[in-house]
């Protein structure tokens, strides 16, 4: 009988081998797949059981906080709340059960959860003391007054405003219209979230789109600053008379370049500063033809075109074609045709000129602070080097000061301050009003600010000055708010 018993033992052993192999499969081999299965809410619940760190402004105003859920029987312990509603959604993004995370909530997720490697030391102590580790607080660079001023000045016109500190790259303000309220996507009610999402996605005005960093527009005449930079670097001096006809006969096409409203640019020739002051199309289109497509594109690339944005959060890449035929080059030189920019990019162009040609990567998160007030991680705008020579930046600055002083940008004037700027009125579709642009910068005391404003369809096709009418006052309000009224 013992022989049979030994055989039973073998069968038992084989059966237990199979039993041992099964959990090995599920817990090791199949684990990554099952853990990330959207129906496995365990990971989510774990995440929502952590007191996610707040997102605050430079002055500690909270713009995203975690509060205990008051819903009875809610398996998710904390709910994300955005005290300022839709005001900071274009930076914070949302934190949604159904649609995941975006922008700062996504990019700094591990810090907010307290799981970044930098927070590890803190976690080990918490582990030993059996203390629940709250996530780190993310401190933004945004300035409250500037952000509110930008929002108020833009009002309910579709568009975007970006303000940077030219010396560091810190984002001082970033707003768009229309906006959305991240609270609507961050509740614990999946049906409500889906409903709100559907409404936002179907909205033709695209409130979910972060126009400030994620949308691309033709830059219009604001691009002339870059064309001017290319010309200056190519050895054309500020005193050199340039042909400025009423109509520029562009070779290889019948689509000649006109000035706005068919106006002449005064006489037969203008210097570069004079041409920029009145935003003469024919002068800059002519410069573009003289420089050629390669040099024009190369100059734009020095400012960051054609490369992924160095911004901390997802942003669109501004583009200019490297190879263009003659008519396209002429149009590109005045910011039309296939040139596309984000407002953030144009703010960076203004900031680079303001900073003597040294380009700083824009950044909106400056540090992560532990719940005990210790700085866990510091972020700085990367110094991207001298984009253009200091001399060229100085010349451009002088030209842009002139634009605001007595050119198309007079609406940006601030008494007692030297404001530099450039207007733009970008055509984008036949029969529709052009986009109104303004980029500029100024400083007072130890503070300086560079701003880019775009108002969609805000211009008047008949007048180049409308970019100045519509967009420049917005930039002015933002500058004043940051510099404390500015007189």
């Amino acid at each position: 009988m013992n022989r049979q018993i030994r055989r039973v033992a073998v069968v038992v052993l084989v059966a237990f081998m199979a039993l041992l192999a099964a959990p090995l499969y599920w817990q090791v081999l199949a684990a990554p797949r099952l853990t990330n299965d959207s129906r496995n809410t365990r990971v989510l619940i774990k995440e929502y059981s952590i007191e996610r760190g707040a997102i605050v402004l430079a002055d500690q105003t909270p713009v995203a906080t975690s509060v205990r859920s008051k819903q009875r029987g809610d398996p998710l312990e904390f709910v994300r709340h955005y005290p300022e509603g839709e005001r900071y959604g274009m930076v914070t993004g949302f934190y949604s059960l159904v649609f995941g995370r975006t922008l700062a909530e996504q990019e700094f997720n591990s810090f907010l959860l307290g799981r970044a490697p930098e927070q590890f030391g803190q976690n080990v102590t918490d582990l030993l003391t059996a203390r629940e580790t709250p996530g780190g607080t993310l401190v933004l660079t945004l300035d409250r007054a500037t952000q509110e001023a930008a929002e108020q000045a833009l009002r309910n016109r579709k568009g975007a405003v970006v303000a940077l500190d030219p010396r560091t790259g810190a984002v001082l303000a970033m707003t768009t219209y229309p906006r959305y309220d991240p609270n609507q996507l961050s509740s614990h009610n999946p049906e409500a979230i889906r409903r709100n999402w559907d409404r936002l996605v179907k909205d033709e005005d695209g409130p979910l789109l972060n126009r400030a960093a994620g949308a691309l527009y033709p830059p219009g005449s604001t691009f002339k600053v870059i064309t001017a930079a290319a010309a200056l670097e190519d050895g054309i001096s500020v005193n050199q008379p340039l042909p400025s006809p009423t109509v520029l006969d562009v070779p290889q096409t019948s689509a000649d370049i006109h000035n706005f409203g068919g106006s002449s640019c005064g006489g037969g020739t203008l210097t570069m500063p004079e041409a920029l002051e009145i935003s003469c199309n024919t002068t800059f289109a002519g410069l573009g033809l003289k420089l050629g497509d390669k040099k024009l594109a190369a100059e734009a690339e020095k400012f960051g075109f054609n490369r992924p944005s160095p911004y901390q959060l997802p942003a669109a890449t501004s583009v200019i074609p490297k190879n263009q035929d003659v008519p396209a080059t002429a149009q590109s030189a005045i910011g039309q045709r296939d040139v596309r920019v984000s407002p953030l990019q144009m703010a960076s162009v203004a900031a680079t000129i303001a900073n003597g040609g040294r380009r700083m990567a824009p950044f909106v998160a400056q540090q992560v602070v532990s719940d005990k007030g210790k700085v866990v991680k510091r972020f700085e705008g990367e110094d991207l080097g001298q984009a253009i020579p200091e001399q060229v930046a100085g010349d451009l600055r002088d030209m842009m000061l002139q634009v605001v002083e007595r050119g198309t940008g007079t609406f940006a004037q601030i008494p007692g301050l030297q404001v530099a700027g450039k207007t733009g009125t970008a055509q984008h579709a036949q029969g529709r009003p052009p986009h109104a642009w303004f980029i500029g910068f100024t400083s007072a005391g130890d503070k300086s600010i560079a701003v880019a404003v775009v108002v969609e369809n805000g211009g008047d096709a008949g007048s180049e000055a409308t970019g100045g009418h519509v967009a420049a006052p917005i930039a002015k309000a933002v500058m004043q708010a940051y510099l404390g009224g500015g007189g």
């Binding site: 039993l19 959990p23 090791v28 684990a31 853990t35 299965d37 496995n40 365990r42």
Partner: protein, 450 residues
């Protein structure tokens, strides 16, 4: 003193430390403080373990030293998991704590263990009442099918309720039937192994010797068809085939048994919708995630989320799995203690099963051998059926994980089961020269643990 018993005492101490440690950790994780009942829990467990241990020292000094600590460890950890699931369920609407009941069942289980050791002084006594065991087994099996007494819960009719008490009589029936089969086969094995009739290609023994076996087989089919209890049915059948094989040494019985089982399974599949559902769920639980596959899928999610090291006591969400404290307690352990924890648990089971088979090998008589094999097989099969079901190795059938799952009937039956094994091992182990006579404590005598 006896060195086997000293080994047992140290292992029991280890089981006690692990159980109380887990209990404290669960409390710390849930409320951030050492749970108020820790001392009581520790003292009760220590008292129970020590009591059972002393009874073995007194009445079965040569008994196997692994079985009791193994059972104690599984029981202790199971109790902690049941308690831990109570924490999670406390917020739910119709919350009924299970841990106090399970603690009471643990006390009663240990009492059953002690009672069996004390009452059954020699396992051969059981041999005398073999037909009574058969009758008892069959009656117990049929109880749930009775109109007033029986209760159908979750599609299977295996519960009996009398007044405030309810239980699954199949757990006790299992032991009674194993005792009967062992007794019957020990006596008739030669007759069964000798073929006298030729039927086609098969040589069959005398039909009358077969009758009691057919009755047992019919009982297991009855369970399958009238109580829809697939797990228990499979369990009976496996034990039955194994015992007949061990008794006769004829593989043709195994083949015939498997054929019978497969035909029964096919028949059941075609007859019962819920069997078809189980098979379909087994093949693709994700497809039926919103309905019948939910439990299995949640169990697999729990295992996967646990990973290698586990989430830690009270750090996972095993309460998401329906019936986490009974059928799916293995998945709950997988989530919180990880692959390492469940592997250790399976190795404890394997160790206990192998000790049981060793007891069978060493048993002095055929009845003892068959009884030990039958008990161990039913124990091992039960582990296989539920762990295999939870891990999608085989179609899922609801059955308890011995000593770990919440459930009184199962706990009592399994304590009786290992008590019988201890009893058989005590007789199967040759006493050292002076073991049964008082010896000075410091002879330095060493007994090889077998």
């Amino acid at each position: 003193m006896e060195s086997r018993r000293n080994v047992e005492l140290s292992l029991l101490l280890l089981a006690l430390i692990l159980s109380v440690g887990a209990y404290v950790v669960v409390g710390l994780a849930a409320d951030n403080e050492v749970p108020a009942g820790s001392a009581g829990y520790g003292a009760t467990l220590a008292g129970l373990f020590l009591g059972a241990h002393l009874v073995l020292r007194w009445r079965a000094p040569q008994a196997d030293p692994i079985l009791l600590p193994g059972a104690a460890l599984l029981n202790g950890l199971g109790l902690v998991m049941v308690r831990r699931l109570d924490y999670a369920d406390a917020a739910k609407d119709n919350y009924r704590p299970e841990a106090p009941a399970q603690a009471l069942w643990t006390v009663l289980g240990m009492a059953v263990f002690v009672a069996v050791i004390l009452v059954v002084r020699d396992h051969r006594v059981l041999d005398r009442y073999r037909y009574s065991w058969l009758l008892l087994g069959v009656v117990l099996l049929m109880l749930p099918a009775l109109p007033v007494l029986g209760r159908e819960i979750n599609g299977a009719r295996l519960w009996v309720r009398i007044g405030p008490f309810s239980g699954q009589p199949a757990e006790a029936a299992k032991i009674a039937l194993v005792v009967f089969l062992a007794a019957y086969l020990a006596e008739r094995k030669e007759l069964l192994a000798t073929a006298t009739y030729r039927a086609g290609p098969f040589l069959l023994p005398e039909i009358k010797y077969f009758m009691p076996l057919l009755l047992a087989w019919a009982a297991s089919l009855f369970v399958l068809f009238f109580e829809k209890d697939l797990g228990s049915s499979l369990l009976f059948f496996g034990v039955f085939v194994t015992l007949v094989y061990v008794a006769t040494g004829r593989f043709s019985y195994v083949a015939a048994g498997l054929a019978l089982f497969l035909s029964g399974a096919v028949l059941a599949y075609n007859l019962f919708g819920h069997v078809q559902v189980r098979v379909a769920t087994w093949l693709d639980p994700w497809k039926y995630y919103a309905s019948r596959g939910f439990q299995l899928a949640q169990g697999l999610f729990a295992l996967a989320t646990g990973g290698i090291l586990g989430q830690g006591w009270n750090q996972g969400r095993p309460d998401f799995i329906p019936f986490a404290s009974t059928d799916f307690i293995f998945a709950a352990f997988g989530e919180e203690l990880g692959l390492l924890g469940v592997t250790a648990m399976l190795l404890v089971y394997l160790l206990m099963v192998f000790r049981g088979l060793r007891i069978a090998l060493a048993a002095p008589d055929d009845f003892g051998k068959l009884l030990a094999v039958g008990l161990v097989t039913s124990f091992a099969l039960q582990v296989f059926v539920i762990v295999g079901g939870v891990t999608r190795l085989i179609p899922l059938t609801g059955i308890t994980l011995p000593f770990v799952s919440f459930g009184g009937s199962s706990l009592l039956a399994n304590y009786a089961l290992i008590a019988l094994l201890c009893r058989i091992s005590d007789e199967g182990t040759p006493a050292p020269a002076a073991a049964r006579a008082p010896v000075p404590a410091d002879t330095g005598e060493v007994t090889v643990i077998r």
